[in-house]
């Protein structure tokens, strides 16, 4: 009887809702159809799906690519905030902790914009208020004058210590890359701390985090390889996954792509990932490799969510797939805007 409590009914309710929502995401066939459409056709097409209210609402103030971009961002933010409201108890804690990723993205965008002296209105267009910092909090940050003031206004946030430590160097060099890396590393470390904090269901959350960190690290290794970077990569890797940072450093020294894949395969135990690694052997374009790895991550998450049907996993599966849906539509719209052919665009879509 341990599993039977009012808590489990709430879990079933929330997880079922998100499973239904997931089934309403844009299917592969529709992406293939959209590849042959022009931008206005795509806008009309997504205006007939889940994005209708945003397209209608923003249709008067934006047009063309801006309308699509804004509608996608608004929809993503609205969707994530509504999920945060409907998930119960511990799931809410984990979901909120996952969504902090958007806070980092928004803060870094604001800092970059401020450093380059952009107008607050212009910066606001590219923000996605899907995390803990809502529209009001972001507006307050936008009203600040300099990057230092923005950082100061964030005192009390989890990532403030990292921001405080790294910001002077970022402003001095004019590059936020290192700051961003550190913030995301801090984010993953914090996720792991949340998962292992003794809250019920944390072990399942941890499985996802490890998968996510592994996929990121492997993607980054492929990127570094493609860019022929052979310096110390320890600083660029995220600790906490199933590979240690030392192992990743060793892997990064392998120069030949095939040898690198072989070395990686010896370390990996997950069969779908092994198959993917084998299939990307022939691919040379880095974006295809990244898409293949993302795909295998999503599939693995889906499999794990079937094993734990009423846990944080079905929620994360939806959140991730929604994120990629928005990214796909954005890539499609942007690609069509600059007149890229459909076949080229297809390689960039996660579907």
């Amino acid at each position: 009887m341990a599993g039977i409590s009012s808590g489990s009914a709430q879990y079933i309710y929330a997880c079922t809702r998100l499973r239904v929502r997931r089934s309403l995401l844009i299917p592969r066939e529709d992406y293939l159809r959209m590849l042959n459409m022009s931008l206005p056709e795509i806008t009309r097409f997504i205006g007939e799906t889940n994005y209708r209210s945003e397209i209608d609402e923003l249709g008067t103030s934006f047009s063309g690519i801006d309308l699509v971009e804004e509608a996608l961002s608004w929809n993503l933010a609205k969707e994530y905030q509504s999920i945060l409201e409907l998930v119960p108890g511990e799931l809410k804690y984990f979901t909120a902790s996952y969504l902090r990723r958007w806070d980092i993205q928004n803060v870094v965008t604001i800092l970059r914009g401020k450093l380059q002296g952009m107008r607050p209105g212009k910066i606001k267009e590219v923000l996605i208020p899907a995390g803990r910092l809502n529209k009001v909090a972001l507006d307050r940050l936008l009203a600040e004058e300099s990057p230092e003031r923005v950082a100061e206004a964030l005192k009390g946030e989890r990532f403030y210590p990292i921001l405080e430590r790294e910001l002077p160097r970022a402003i001095e060099t004019g590059s936020f890359a290192h700051l961003e890396n550190e913030l995301y590393k801090g984010y993953y470390a914090r996720l792991l701390a949340d998962a292992t904090g003794g809250i019920k269901g944390g072990d399942i959350f941890r499985k996802y985090i490890e998968l996510e960190i592994d996929t990121r690290n492997i993607q980054n290794l492929f990127r570094l390889q493609a860019g022929r970077v052979h310096e110390d990569v320890r600083e660029l890797m995220i600790p906490g996954g199933s590979f240690s940072v030392e192992e990743l450093q060793r892997l990064s020294t392998v120069e030949d792509r095939d040898e690198f894949i072989d070395a990686l395969k010896r370390q990996v135990r997950m069969t779908p990932l092994l198959n993917t690694l084998e299939s990307i052997r022939g691919k040379s374009a880095i974006h295809e490799i990244e898409v293949a790895l993302t795909r295998v991550q999503l599939e693995q998450m889906e499999r794990m969510s079937k094993r734990y049907p009423f846990s944080i996993l079905p929620i994360l599966v939806y959140l991730e797939e929604k994120k990629y849906e928005v990214a796909n539509l954005r890539a499609l719209a942007r690609g069509k805007e600059v007149g890229l052919p459909g076949e080229r665009l297809q390689g960039y879509l996660v579907m």
Binding site: S8, Y13, T16
Partner: protein, 82 residues
């Protein structure tokens, strides 16, 4: 346990009482069983209907399927009593 002093009427009355208790247990326990079974299904049904109204008919049907358990209990109870 029938002791020596019990009359035939007392035995009959105790039998009737026992079958009434049995009938009560049959309906009561199956009711609890149905409730537990419907808890999960009901939660999922409400979740699915909240997202997609067209699910309502099917969701309602699935939710009441465990009602059969309590109906079996009721049948057994009626057989015991009459």
């Amino acid at each position: 346990m029938v002791d020596v002093g019990t009359t035939l009427e007392m035995v009959q009355a105790s039998q009737a009482g026992m079958s009434a208790v049995g009938a009560g247990l049959a309906v009561g326990l199956t009711g609890v069983g149905t409730g537990l079974a419907e808890m999960g299904i009901g939660a999922a049904a409400v979740g699915a209907t909240a997202e997609n109204r067209d699910m309502f008919g099917l969701a309602l049907l699935f939710t009441v399927i465990p009602e059969t358990i309590v109906i079996f209990g009721l049948v057994v109870a009626l057989l015991l009593l009459f």
